[in-house]
């Protein structure tokens, strides 16, 4: 495993996600900033009351996607950057933690941007699927982002594509 990144899938039936572990991993005495994102299960979805969710996941490819996102951030924001990614698999209750991403770097700007970019990659590129369980007893797989356009390209992001991705944050709510 590369020493600047730690990526993992956590079976929620075995253990909860641990933000403290993320902070510990990305901490370094060369760093002046750490950005931490924690995603949790919320009560409402599209105006409906949610009781819980479950995540289905293609583990092997998801871990590779996390690792690639961390590697892209490392290449983009400098060799001092450290990145941690953990995502839950299985059945989660309201308030349970679904995802933890942390980035540590010498300065806050790189930490914020790296954390955001890695999180967006996790959300939009990793093979993970959410099914919501509603108060009325119904369930639904969430609509998501199609991976079709990604092909086998696996090309390093160019400045232009990275800029386009950054712009898309604002008009991409899910």
């Amino acid at each position: 495993m590369l020493d600047y990144q730690r990526v993992l899938v956590v079976d929620i039936a075995q253990q909860a996600l641990d933000p403290a572990q993320a902070l510990a991993f990305v901490s370094d005495d060369a760093h002046g900033g750490i950005a931490l994102f924690v995603g949790q299960v919320r009560r409402q979805s599209h105006g409906r009351q949610v009781l819980g969710i479950e995540y289905d996941m293609f583990d092997a490819l998801a871990l590779k996607t996390f690792a690639q996102a961390a590697a892209d951030a490392h290449a983009r924001f400098g060799p001092a950057l450290k990145v941690y990614v953990a995502h839950a698999r299985g059945a989660l209750k309201l308030g349970d933690l679904a995802v933890v991403v942390a980035a540590g770097s010498p300065h806050r700007d790189e930490a914020f941007r790296a954390c955001r970019e890695v999180m967006e990659a996790v959300k939009h590129q990793a093979p993970i699927w959410k099914r919501e369980h509603f108060e009325d007893g119904s369930t639904a797989w969430s609509e998501g982002c199609s991976l079709c356009h990604q092909g086998a390209a696996t090309e390093a992001p160019t400045a232009a594509t990275a800029a386009a991705a950054a712009i898309s944050y604002d008009d991409h709510a899910h």
Binding site: A60, K123, A126, P127, G144, S146, L147, A152
Partner: protein
């Protein structure tokens, strides 16, 4: 020849088994596997939405595959509906 296709997310609602075994032509491509999934769905999955397959990617454990990529006998693939992690 035969390939296996692992099902995820919304595809799981159409059958209890998480994996399909599909016959595809020799020298098949990913495009042929996609067609074989469509054929299987039409025959066995009442109410299946073709749009779901059209919006889905095919992949191995290592990468998402181009439509023109060749597939070997016994290949283990996965069909990935639009993703919704995080």
């Amino acid at each position: 020849m035969q390939v296996s296709v692992q099902l995820f997310g919304a595809f799981r609602q159409y059958q209890s088994e998480a994996q399909l075994q599909l016959d595809v032509p020799c020298n098949a491509t990913v495009r042929d596997v996609r067609q074989a999934i469509a054929n299987h769905a039409a025959a066995h999955w009442p109410g299946f939405s073709v749009g779901l397959l059209q919006a889905s990617a095919l992949a191995t454990e290592d990468a998402i595959l181009d439509a023109a990529a060749s597939v070997s006998d016994g290949a283990r693939l996965a069909v990935l509906p639009p993703v919704s992690g995080g």
